[in-house]
C-alpha cells in the first residue's frame, strides 16, 4: 500500500487539535474568552431557570444541576462534532489520503479539552460552595467512562453519516429527547415513579450523570459493576465504529463527492 498511510498519527492529531483551537479563537473577537464564558453562561441560565425560578428539588439541587449540565454539554458536543468529522472533511479527503479514523479522534480530543475547562470551573465552584471530599478521587474513572461512551456514539455515527446525511437529523432529535430522559434537570430516583426509573436507567448517560453526582456531590464511591458494564458497551461500539471506518476508508472520498 501507498506509504502515505504511514502517517504519524499522534502528530497529526496534535497539530489538528491545536489548529481547531486556533481556528475557533481566531473566528471571534473575544477568542479564547468564550471557552470560559459560554459554559459559565449556560450554567448561569440553567441555574436561574431551574434552580431559582422553578425552585426544583430544594436547596442542594443546584449542585446536581451543575454536574448534570456540565456532563450533558460534554456529551452532546462530542457526539455532534465527532459525527460530522468525516463528512465535514469531504473536500480535503478528495485531494489527499488521510486514514479516516484520525478525523473522529481529533474531534473527540478537541471536545475533551474544551470540556476539561468546563469541569475545572465546575470543580472550583463545588469546592468553593460545598467543599471537597475523598470520593472526588473516583472522578477520573467516571469521566473516562463518559469519554469512552460519547466517543463510541460519535465514532459509530461518523462512519455512517457519509452514506446518509439524514442520520444527522435523527441524532440531533435523539440528543434532544435524551437530554430530558437523562435526568439533567431532575434526580431520576427521586422524581420518577416505577417502573419508569428502570427504563430510564437503561440509558448509559442517565447512569453516568448519576454516578458523577454520587462522586462529586454525595461523597459516594461509584457503582463499579455499572461502570464496567458501560465501559464494555463503549468498547464494543468503538470496535464496531472504527471497524466500519476502516472498512470504508477509501470509499468515503467517492461517496462524499
Amino acid at each position: 500500500m501507498n506509504r502515505n498511510s504511514k502517517i504519524h498519527a499522534l502528530d497529526f492529531i496534535r497539530v489538528n487539535v491545536s489548529a481547531d483551537f486556533r481556528l475557533e479563537a481566531a473566528q471571534n473577537r473575544l477568542g479564547v474568552f468564550w471557552w470560559f464564558m459560554e459554559p459559565l453562561m449556560m450554567m448561569a441560565i440553567f441555574y436561574v431557570v431551574f434552580g431559582l425560578v422553578l425552585e426544583r428539588g430544594g436547596n442542594g439541587f443546584v449542585y446536581y444541576l451543575l454536574v448534570g449540565i456540565s456532563s450533558w454539554m460534554w456529551f452532546t458536543s462530542t457526539v455532534t462534532r465527532t459525527m460530522n468529522s468525516i463528512s465535514r472533511s469531504a473536500q480535503l479527503i478528495q485531494q489527499i489520503y488521510i486514514p479516516k479514523y484520525l478525523l473522529p479522534c481529533v474531534a473527540v480530543s478537541v471536545e475533551f479539552l474544551k470540556s476539561m475547562i468546563v469541569f475545572a470551573l465546575l470543580l472550583a465552584l463545588l469546592a468553593g460552595l460545598k467543599g471537597v471530599t475523598m470520593s472526588w478521587l473516583h472522578l477520573p474513572i467516571v469521566m473516562l467512562t463518559q469519554l469512552l461512551f460519547s466517543a463510541a456514539c460519535g465514532v459509530v455515527m461518523a462512519g455512517l453519516v457519509p452514506f446518509a446525511n439524514d442520520l444527522k437529523f435523527v441524532v440531533q432529535l435523539s440528543l434532544r429527547a435524551l437530554m430530558f430522559l437523562s435526568g439533567v434537570f431532575f434526580l431520576i430516583d427521586d422524581k420518577i415513579p416505577q417502573p419508569y426509573v428502570d427504563y430510564l436507567l437503561l440509558n448509559p448517560m442517565a447512569n453516568i450523570i448519576t454516578e458523577l453526582r454520587n462522586v462529586l456531590v454525595d461523597g459516594m464511591a461509584p457503582n463499579w459493576p455499572l461502570i464496567i458494564t458501560i465501559n464494555s458497551l463503549s468498547i464494543f461500539l468503538l470496535v464496531i465504529g472504527f471497524g466500519l471506518i476502516h472498512h470504508f476508508d477509501r470509499r468515503y472520498p467517492k461517496v462524499l463527492l
Binding site: 506509504r3 481566531a26 480535503l92 489520503y97
Partner: protein, 232 residues
Amino acid sequence: MSKGDIAISLKGVSVEYRKAGSWLSQKAVQYTALKDISFDLYQGQSLAVVGRNGAGKSTLLKLLAGVILPDSGELKNDDYSTALMALNVGLMPELSGLDNIFIIGTLMAHSRKSVAAHVDRIVAFAELEEFINYPVKTYSSGMKSRLGFAIASTLQADVLLIDEVLSVGDRIFQKKSAEVIQERLKSEQTVVLVSHSEQAIRDYCTHVLWIEDGEVKMHDEVGVVMDAYEQS
C-alpha cells in the same frame, strides 16, 4: 528505488461512481469514470496526462494519490509516497501560513519534527517572509499557490502528482517553480503532470498518457502522442 523500477502499476483498472438518490425524487446515478486502464509508471519518469474535460484525469490522479481504490483491476503502489500538488490543497484560510505548513506537512506523512526542520526552507521558497504569520485568507491567490507549491516541493515525496500547477503565481515565481520541476526531473523524481499547456508538457515530460472517455487512447513518448493529440 532506482531508475527503471516500476513505481506504480495499473492493470485493467476501472473506477465507477455510484450516487444513491433521494428516496422521494432523484434516481440513483451511476457512471464509469475509468475503464480498463493499464500502464506502468517508472521511477524517474515524467508522465503527462492529457484529455478533454471529464475524460477521467482527476479520477486517475486520485487513484495514483491513493485517495480511492479501483473497483476492479489491480493497482500496485509498493511503498511509494505520493504527493498531490494541486493548487491550495487543504489550506485553512483562517489560520496562519505557518500553521498550515504543519497541517499539510503532517498530512503528507511527515512528523512534526521533520516539518519543523523544513519550515525555513518552505518560507524562503514561497517568498512569504513576515506574511507567514498572517492568516492565509489575507493572501493573494498567487501567495496561496506559492505556499502550496513550496510545501509540496520541499517536503519531498517519491511521486509528485501535479495538477495544473505551472500557471502558479507571477512570472518570476513561475520561472522558479519551472526550475524546481526541471531540477526534480533531472534528479530522477517521478512526476505525473496534468496540464492543458501543451508547451509545458513538451518541455517537461518524456511520456504522455492520453485518456478519452475514461479509456487509454494513446500512451507513448511525448512527441508521438502530442502530435496526434494536437491534430484531434
